[in-house]
Symmetry: C2
Subunit: 224 residues, 2 copies
DNA sequence: CGGTATCCCCCGCGATACTG
DNA sequence: CAGTATCGCGGGGGATACCG
């Protein structure tokens, strides 16, 4: 750490904060803890972070022993180390705190269909689906910009894929919701039942997938 | 939060990090959690933070509901709220993490006699001393700048006072140590016994205070 | 002392382009 | 796609003065 920028304290809170509490780092750690390892995947979870800054932060985390960089077939993989994993309680507790105490409704610029769908596909409960075969769910996000309004979640042999273009398969279920509504459901701010009643969310398609919706559509890890 | 500066994510980790992980804030929270309430006391624990920034951060924490500002006889008092107290595990875990994983020896600019003595006086175990009467300990910190080399801890009826000028009382005990040595002892990096053996620390004065040193001289909350 | 206002520098970081 | 290099600006925050 540059001496000019340093807090210049022997206290371990200060020494740790110099690394962990710099801009974007808690959010980057969240992504790494969630299991993303590829640069492009990290970018997906951090759409407003510039690639140069992401690159820089990864280098800093590597120097701090929080991340290890491995050569991959294409590019590199960034894996969180044991010491990095021990930051997990901090990041999770920070999120829990935020969920509890920051109760303002989401600002418009915080509602992001890409981020939402990215989080959804990451937590989809695939064990619910048959070991072999295909499942297709289409999402219509009202209020999202046209080119990011329609999404398809495809589960093929329990492997999840997220598409923004029509995959050519027939839908098993369609989820129609406002972007804000689905985000609120996802974050546990309102229940699925409540969202349906308020016409913020509706499910169409095969009965068995509709009735089991809450079994495979897990909510955010921070949902109450 | 200014939209330009915002992470623009609905994720509570991001929303919390915007407040809690900004520059200086974790260290300021440490001070508030430790019980400091006055502006000047906060400054003592944050000597390298400019007063204008401290003022700004306090305002931000107040807006976020983490701190409450009360009119005091002179100036104001800043008290941490219930929601702020729930940040305590985050700050403490961050410190514990730092203590465990940031093992570089302290850089010269991180060794600060004022900060060290401030922390020491805050954790002095006063119940060890008689309910009435005076106790005086003088510290000589070798390697500290001349004007901050000598310190007196005065416990009067169990109330601790820290002085940088000779108080005119006789010493009950004298602690002679290098600044780095005492810091390492304080942080639990080496034991008192080891420090004595290596001549990094020596105690002179009344036997009963020497033999009970480790009873009243508590170590940092982050010492192992 | 307790805190705010002002000034201004500098560098963090966003934007963009570029390269393998 | 997987990152790195460059460039330019904006404002964060440090220094200082100042006011109550």
């Amino acid at each position: 750490m540059n001496i000019k920028k340093s807090y210049s304290q022997f206290c371990p809170v200060a020494r740790a904060a110099e690394i962990v509490a710099s801009r974007w780092t808690p959010v980057l750690l969240r992504e790494l803890i969630a299991g993303s390892t590829k640069f492009s995947d990290l970018r997906s979870g951090l759409p407003k972070m510039s690639p140069s800054l992401l690159s820089k932060r990864l280098r800093e985390l590597e120097e701090a022993g929080i991340v290890e960089k491995f050569k991959a077939p294409k590019g590199f993989e960034y894996h969180i180390t044991e010491s990095g994993k021990e930051l997990s309680p901090i990041v999770m507790t920070l999120g829990t705190w935020g969920q509890k105490f920051i109760t303002d409704e989401y600002a418009k610029h915080e509602l992001d269909p890409t981020l939402l769908m990215w989080d959804i596909q990451r937590r989809l409960e695939t064990t619910f689906f048959p070991e072999t075969g295909r499942f297709v769910a289409e999402f219509f996000l009202e209020g999202a910009p046209r080119e990011r309004r329609n999404w398809w979640l495809i589960v093929n042999d329990r492997v999840v894929d997220l598409c923004i273009h029509h995959p050519g398969f027939e839908n098993d279920i369609e989820i129609v919701a406002s972007l804000r509504g689905l985000t609120d459901v996802w974050m546990g701010n309102i229940s699925v039942a409540e969202a349906k009643k308020k016409k913020l969310l509706s499910l169409n398609g095969q009965k068995k997938f509709i009735s089991s919706f809450e079994n495979w559509f897990l909510l955010s890890v921070f949902a109450n």
